[in-house]
């Protein structure tokens, strides 16, 4: 029984992706567009999960890397458009480069300092694009020609859908691999007890910086996709509300689980949509900020383990098999400094 559920847990994400791929052609344009939006947000949330859930670093400036990836795509494409083959590495590379600088500085601090410093550096990126004409100022800039690669053209709705789905599966797979790798084990060790890891001879700073840069690059991937989808970027992409919302997504889904980031992205987008739809909540829809704020407070207060935590509590059978978030990683012979 336990084996079946463990196997299911293993393959369920892939099954979901396959189901989504199969359902794609039957979706209405509106629904397909909504799914693409949620998938991009899922990639963005997954990238932050690497920092918050896997390494225990609470960053409140993750939107900067998302925005930089998006801006790099649009600026790189210029008037004549460009190939995905170099625009995608450019977007991810720019985001990773900024993450390297921000990470190198902010990882000198910890805890609440780290939260404030990451927020401040994200705000700096926001101001650079907001106040200078280089990125179109506060209006942002349009992308005239969407990125292409041979016959693949991001202008097409289906290329967007399957391209984003592929990117989501790739990101999920990469993070799942990192989790099982030596890097992942070291990051888990840092999350649980950084002092002990340092005492054991790990270059803690280097591992954290590596996580920060990878997370930045993946956020840049999400930025590349959002720019290719929307065909326009503006500084709002980097606004600190976006950093707050993506942080909410991963805690709403369930911190410490990769699927939590995806579930959270879906749930948060739906929640926002529901709270601002007149047909569903009546006149309260005009006050969606109020209801959303109260919902956030209630969620975090009542369900600190997120939706996955609720599911685990409802089915005690699965409880035993679920990986414990707080569990100390077993001393692993494969992990060497």
């Amino acid at each position: 029984m336990k084996n079946i559920s463990a196997t299911m847990r293993h393959w369920l994400p892939l099954a979901c992706a396959l189901a989504l791929a199969a359902l794609g052609p039957w979706m209405s344009p509106y629904l397909a567009d909504f799914v693409v939006k949620v998938m991009i947000l899922s990639i963005f949330a997954l990238s932050l999960e690497l920092l918050v859930g896997m390494t225990g670093l609470v960053s409140l400036g993750h939107a900067a890397f998302y925005g930089i990836g998006a801006y790099a795509t649009v600026l790189g494409a210029g008037r004549d458009g460009g190939s995905i083959a170099w625009l995608l590495p450019l977007a991810m590379g720019s985001a990773a480069a900024y993450a390297l600088v921000v990470g190198a500085l902010s990882l000198r601090t910890r805890g609440v300092y780290f939260i404030m410093v990451t927020l401040a550096f994200a705000q700096m990126a926001f101001f650079v694009f907001h106040d200078t004409p280089f990125g179109g100022g506060s209006d942002g800039i349009y992308m005239y020609v969407r990125p292409t690669l041979g016959a693949i053209d991001m202008e097409s709705r289906w290329v967007q859908f399957y391209g984003v789905l592929g990117a989501l599966v790739g990101t999920y797979g990469l993070l799942a691999l990192i989790r099982r790798s030596r890097l992942g084990a070291a990051l888990a060790g840092i999350r649980v007890n950084e002092q002990r890891m340092r005492a054991a001879g790990f270059a803690v700073y280097g591992y954290k910086l590596a996580a920060f840069v990878i997370a930045g690059a993946l956020a840049g991937l999400a930025g590349f996709l959002v720019a290719s989808r929307d065909g326009v970027v503006n500084p709002e992409l980097m606004a600190w509300h976006n950093s707050g919302e993506v942080l909410l997504m991963i805690i709403l889904g369930g911190l410490g689980h990769l699927r939590g980031a995806v579930i959270g992205a879906v749930a948060f987008t739906l929640l926002k949509e529901v709270l601002s739809t007149h047909a569903l909540v009546g006149p309260l829809a005009d006050q969606w900020q109020l209801t959303l704020g109260l919902a956030i407070i209630a969620f975090v207060a009542l369900l600190p383990k997120g939706l996955i935590g609720v599911a685990a509590r409802l089915s005690p059978a699965a409880n035993g098999a679920a990986p414990k978030l707080d569990a100390v990683p077993a001393p692993n012979a494969k992990v060497t400094p």
């Binding site: 918050v52 609470v58 409140l60 500085l105 902010s106 000198r108 601090t109 910890r110 805890g111 609440v112 300092y113 939260i115 404030m116 410093v117 927020l119 401040a120 550096f121 705000q123 700096m124 101001f127 650079v128 907001h130 106040d131 200078t132 004409p133 600190w240 707050g244 942080l247 909410l248 805690i251 911190l255 006050q287 900020q289 109020l290 959303l292 704020g293 109260l294 919902a295 956030i296 407070i297 975090v300 207060a301 600190p304």
Partner: protein, 290 residues
């Protein structure tokens, strides 16, 4: 740059820095003593500005009376808010504090929009502070800005006195350096928390009220102040009031002169300053090594 311009910019820098200090000192105390990271602190600044907008027609010329009334209201509000909301955050981790206070910002912004709408408002300076005086040959400086600086200096001195010379201040300093020990020594820590929180809200709201006649009153004004105050707290060192003062003035000068010399990149100056401090002293200018 002639002497007059230079003087005006210096006065602006000091005035801006001191105003930041009022907001940041509350933030650093609340973090230093309660260990709570409060994203909603900027909302208290906004609350003050909107209070000035709402109260100024009622009080007319009695600007100082209005400030006192506003401070009392804000402190009461802070006291109740600590009891109803923030006291539940102390046991939670930073991530949850961040998210719950983020939710609180949305609630405050929604309430603001319901109560006073989304328009940009102006608040008039009191008649006895209108006009300006000559500084150098060409420049003039408004009396109100000078009053704002003076008021902030008086408050900063008052804060210094309370923190360093009174029994309450002793408890506050003790709380900032070792919370558990204070609790162990039998000090009613919950009451101390409530007082510190109320004082932090009152200071931020007072800064908002003082700032209202100089800058307009607009939605979302809390967010930008919050982030600059984070920079101030990081530079100064969490929990240190002296650090907050030094850092506020530094940020005030860097920001003001940044606008004069590098208009387009002026927004970046304070972050570069923060980066420099992080390289040099990651724990902040006056922070303790951890």
């Amino acid at each position: 740059m002639d002497v007059g311009t230079f003087l005006v910019q210096c006065l602006n820098a000091v005035q801006y820095g001191l105003l930041l200090f009022l907001v940041a000192s509350g933030l650093t105390l609340i973090f230093g003593i309660m260990g709570v990271i409060n994203l909603a602190h900027g909302s208290f600044y906004m609350l003050g500005a909107y209070m000035a907008f709402a109260l100024s027609p009622l009080f007319g010329d009695q600007f100082l009376v209005m400030l006192v009334a506003g401070v009392v209201l804000a402190a009461l509000f802070g006291y109740v808010l600590e009891w109803a909301f923030f006291s539940y955050l102390y046991q939670r981790d930073h991530l949850q504090q961040v998210l719950m206070t983020y939710g609180l910002i949305l609630v405050f912004e929604a309430l603001r929009s319901m109560l006073v709408g989304n328009d940009v408002h102006g608040v008039k300076a009191p008649p006895w502070l209108e006009g300006s005086f000559a500084l150098g040959e060409l420049m003039r400086y408004p009396w109100y800005r000078l009053f704002a600086s003076a008021a902030c200096i008086v408050l900063a001195l008052g804060l210094y006195f309370v923190v360093n010379r009174t029994r309450l201040g002793m408890m506050i300093r003790a709380g900032a350096s070792n919370r558990d020990m204070v609790r162990g020594l039998g000090i009613d820590i919950r009451r101390l928390y409530r007082i510190v929180f109320a004082a932090g809200v009152a200071l931020a709201a007072l800064a908002g009220m003082i700032a209202a006649p100089m800058s307009s009153v607009y939605p979302g004004m809390g967010g930008s102040v919050l982030i600059i105050c984070f920079v101030v707290v990081v530079i100064g060192g969490v929990g240190s009031i002296t650090g907050a003062l030094v850092a506020s003035l530094l940020v005030g000068f860097v920001d003001t002169f940044g606008k004069v010399f590098f208009a387009e990149l002026s927004g970046m100056g304070i972050y570069v300053l923060m980066a420099a401090v992080l390289i040099w002293r990651p724990e902040g200018l006056m922070g303790r090594k951890t």
